[in-house]
Structure formats: C-alpha cells, structure tokens
Symmetry: C2
Subunit: 333 residues, 2 copies
C-alpha cells in the first residue's frame, strides 16, 4: 500500500480555474500485480491545453471527468516493477496524472535518457512542446530553407522551441509576444530575427515592415486578431499551422473566426490543424534531431519550474493560462 | 474602322451594381495591324467574381478601372486576321470584354472546337466554371473514390458542375442550394445524392443526418454560416476548398470569419484557397475529361442565356449576383 496525494477535478470551471475547481485528496494505492509498475512522479507538465480538457465538450481528447485525477504528462521514476519492460530506477515519461505516485500497465509509458537531457527538458524541447513545434513546422507547415516564419505566443513553451527549430532549419523567424521583456528574450537569447510586442505595437503594420514580401509559414498559437494580422500579410502559397488558441476564459464558447480567411484564396494559401499525438510513432526522429540541435547550442531550452508539488498545481496552471510563464512550465513534486 | 458598342464602368458601385454603374458607349475600332485579330463577340460569360473586380482593392486580379471596358471572358469569331495563329472564321475564347467587337494580339486567346460542345458550354462546363470545379475538387480537395462531398451554391455555374464531376469520380454528393426548385433539380436532374435547402432547413442538423460519418471534402462557394455548418460536420482529414464567397453587397467589407475554424485542429483538416488560372496550363486535360463525361451523359450542362447584347449586361450581372440564375449565365450579343 502506497499513500499518494492527488489533484482531482472538483467542479468544472467557467473561465479561469479557481480554488474550488480542484480538490487535493489522499489515496492509498493497492499493491501492483503482474504486468504493472509503481512510479513516483518527479515532474508534472503544465500546459494551456489542460484548460480545454476541463470542458464537457467534444474535442480531440475526452474531457477530464468530475472526480477524476487531473490528466497530465509526467516524468517519473519506477519504484516497483512487475512489468518485463521496466526496471526499478528507470526514468520514464507517461500520462500518470497530477499525483505523487501512480500504478501503470506500461501502455504509453516510455523510458527517457537523462544523459541526453535533464528531466524537465523531456517535458519541454524533447517533450510534447518540442514535438508540436517540430511536426507543426515540418509536416504541417512544410517549412523550407530561406522562408519567413512568424510564430505567435513565441515566448511560450511551443513558440520558443518552434522559433529556434525554424532558425536551425535556415528560416527567417519573427516572433510575436506580449511585453518588452519577452520580446527582448526572443531576439537576444533565442536567436529570433525580430520580435513584435502585441501589447504595444500594431501587428499588421509591423509584419508588413519586417516581411514586406509576406509570410511563408505562420505558426498560430493564439487565434483572434493576431491570426487575422497574419492572414493580411501572407505570401503566395503560404501555410498557416493551427496549433492552438489562447482562450483561458472559456473554450466552450466560440471565438470570433478569422475575418480575413478569404486571403487563403487570394494568396493560394492553406490553413491546417493538427494534433501532435498523430505523429507519436515518429517522436524518436524528432527527439534525435532536437537533441542534436541542443548539443550544438542551436536550441536553448528554458523551463519555468514551480516547486511545491500537488498543492501548487492550480496556481501553476493559472500561470500558463494567463501567459505569465517564461518557457515551458513544469511542476516539481 | 469597325463600330462597336461597349459596356464601361461609369462609377464604382457600393452594394449591388445599379444603372448608374455602367455606361454603354459606341466606339470606332482602328484597322488591325500585323499580329492582330479582329473578333466579333458572340457570348459573354457573366460571373459572380465580376463584382469583386469593381472594388478598388488589392486582390488576385487588378480592379477594372473607372472608364474602362468591363472585363469578361467571351466566345467570339475571328472576322479579320493579321495573326499567323488565327484564321477568319475561327471560334475563339478570350478576355475581350463586354463589347461587340474587339482587337487582340492573340495573347490568352485559344480556339474552341464547336464540334466538341456548343459555344455556351465553352463558357460553362468546358470554361472557367468547369475548370474551377475540376481543379478545385481534384487538386485542392484531393477527392478520392467513395468519399463524401458537400457543395454549396450547388445549383450555380460552378457548383452544378462540381457535383456532377464528384459523382463521375465515384463520390457521394450532397448539394446545398436555396429553394425547393433548385434542390429538386440537384437530385432529379443533376444526379446529386441529396440536397439541403438552406432557406427552409437546418443545415448543421441535415448534414449530420445525411453524412453521420462527416464530410471528406467541402467545396465552399458561399462562406458565412454554411461554411461554419460544414466545419461542424467534418470527418478526420477533411479538406475544405475555398472557391469563393457570395457577397453581392460589398466585397470590400470583411465578412464574419468562420467561428468554427478550430475544427480544423480537432479533425486534422485543411482549408485551402485557389485561383483557377494557376492551372491554365492544364486546362486541356480538364477539357478532355469533362467532354468525355459529357458525351457519356454523366454531366448535364445547363446554361442560362440572356439575349439582348450590351444593353442587358447590367441586368444579367445582377441575376448572378442575387443567385437568381439556373446554371451558367451567358449574355448573347
């Protein structure tokens, strides 16, 4: 019997989650049986997409049920094993949830090599944000050397990796972020060619100045007016990658659609969505490539670590939902 | 010297063109010189896209200037030739404008074979509407046998051909049109599998009933709520072909964007625009294929012919801009 503290969904929030959204409960886990492992969670990945899982709506993934342990991707250590594929002491990645300990049958669990990169990086540049940036740019955006790429929410977990990958692939990269400090970081620390502060600058006009020939790829993490600003500045044959929408208030409400979508016709452009898990069987390829860029110093991985375990999960989630994080946010257990 | 009556743009309209939009003037054409032809226009193609050319805005084609002869694609007969590529009596297709006679240097002019199909069909199923339907479905929509296709403005010039081409290619085809008579024609005369009347039916619900597995290809000729209804009913991997938007009031104003565009992400779908002239070097391939389907009885070509020449151009254009045409509209000179 192992005691574990867990974060459960107490009630569905409307708008930003609040303290009554969550309950922290203590559970006793049973002994593992044949084919199972017991893991101790070390790091929890905290992501904007989590907000969508709290709504009772049809989406690419079922919602988290009221009363259920909050879903999360974690880095963990195997502490007991009755599974032939895992040994005690293995470092693993898996969807164990926001919990101190978990039992798993090993499905969807993979080992991670901490000699390649530290644990937090396996949730960032080598984790879902890195995979999202990589396959979004290459497969959906079909990025080619010499093209101009614009990335919104560029200081975020996905955006910051996407910009650096695009640079490593030989593109000119413009980031859009909120606030002077984030914009400074994009150009001075993350090798972006230029940054636009959407809090203080006219994005349409600045895009026209910075990319007078138009954009080849727009990697959209926010939707709304910024998506329209990109549509107004496409180059012929441009590709728009719909990665997500920043809508902490309520994802079940429809956001305004992009008014300038007819630009797709004028510019013979494409707008496509994707879900990164569709590329799961090719994660190895992306991990190898990103680890190489990281070793070559082409890709700075920054993680924003919140200490304090399950008690601080709600607070950590709201940091990403309000865009207050600087880099990939992880909760240390 | 040849006398010709021409329709010129007198002033830019706001909303639907009115009588003061146009002026009908009489001109004397000079004698042709080496490399030129004089043609007598037989039929003028009248299309919704013409409305967009009247706005002084940046688009895929420059606007028609105030005072200029109205641009149009015509079927004409060569009446004098000083061009090695054309003989007197040749039937040709070209952008001669809304005029009785025109002089051309032969650029963009091609001969049409009236033994393959009558002149009006060369502006319809074998003309731009046919080319738009063919390349939109095959190249942009990537339609495959057995898939489900939905077409809006399905009784129009492009939509009616697109539906029949999709049927000829082995798809299940649902048409959306306004009014019972148009819907009847789709299923009874044009071999559509089903029709939805967007004047009297709930399009979202009917699409769900008729295509419970979702749509593979949506061929959009209208935008707006119908585009959102399609987005709500996609199948995974769906392709949305943005062909046009029916907005006779004023194309310079932004229409509301598709609120449900995030469905592109959930369904891993693509929305792409195109301009048919990009495929001009492949029109021969499409003409051959469509003529074959037509000969096999798989493709009924209906043209809506307005008689009366230049004096009735304004009236003819407003017929298509208000969706009152039944089939491809041509003006007989």
């Amino acid at each position: 019997m192992t005691k574990t503290q867990q974060v459960r969904l107490a009630r569905r929030p409307s708008g930003l989650p609040a303290t009554d959204t969550w309950s922290v409960v203590s559970e006793e886990l049973p002994a593992i049986t044949a084919g199972e492992i017991l893991v101790k969670v070390d790091l929890v990945s905290v992501d904007p997409a989590m907000r969508g899982w709290l709504n009772d709506v049809r989406s690419y993934r079922p919602p988290v049920g009221v009363g259920d342990v909050m879903r999360s991707l974690d880095i963990a250590t195997v502490v007991e094993s009755a599974h032939p594929g895992f040994s005690v002491g293995d470092n693993v990645s898996g969807v164990f949830g926001v919990t101190e300990y978990a039992i798993s049958d090993g499905r969807g669990v993979s080992t991670v090599d901490l000699r390649v990169a530290p644990a937090a990086a396996w949730l960032g540049v080598l984790g879902i944000p890195g995979m999202t940036a990589y396959f979004g740019l290459l497969e959906v955006g079909k990025l080619r050397v010499g093209e101009t790429v614009v990335i919104s929410a560029a200081a975020g977990a996905v955006g910051s990796v996407a910009g650096q990958i695009a640079k490593a692939m030989g593109a000119t990269v413009i980031g859009i972020a909120s606030g002077a400090e984030k914009c400074r970081r994009l150009t001075e620390e993350l090798s972006f060619d230029a940054a636009i502060d959407d809090h203080s600058e006219d994005v349409v006009r600045r895009l026209r100045e910075l990319a007078p020939q138009g954009l080849d790829v727009y990697f959209d993490n926010v939707g709304g007016e910024i998506l329209d600003a990109a549509l107004a500045n496409l180059r012929r044959g441009a590709r728009i990658v719909i990665c997500g929408v920043l809508d902490p208030d309520n994802e079940s409400e429809l956001v305004p659609g992009p008014s300038r979508y007819m630009a797709l016709l004028f510019f013979r452009a494409t707008m496509a969505g994707f879900v990164v898990s569709d590329y799961a069987d090719r994660y190895g390829e992306a991990v190898a490539k990103i680890a190489q860029w990281r070793d070559e110093g082409k890709l700075e991985a920054r993680e924003h670590v919140v200490e304090g375990g399950v008690a601080r999960f709600g607070e950590a989630l709201n940091i990403v939902l309000t865009g207050a994080n600087n880099g990939k946010l992880v909760l240390a257990m």
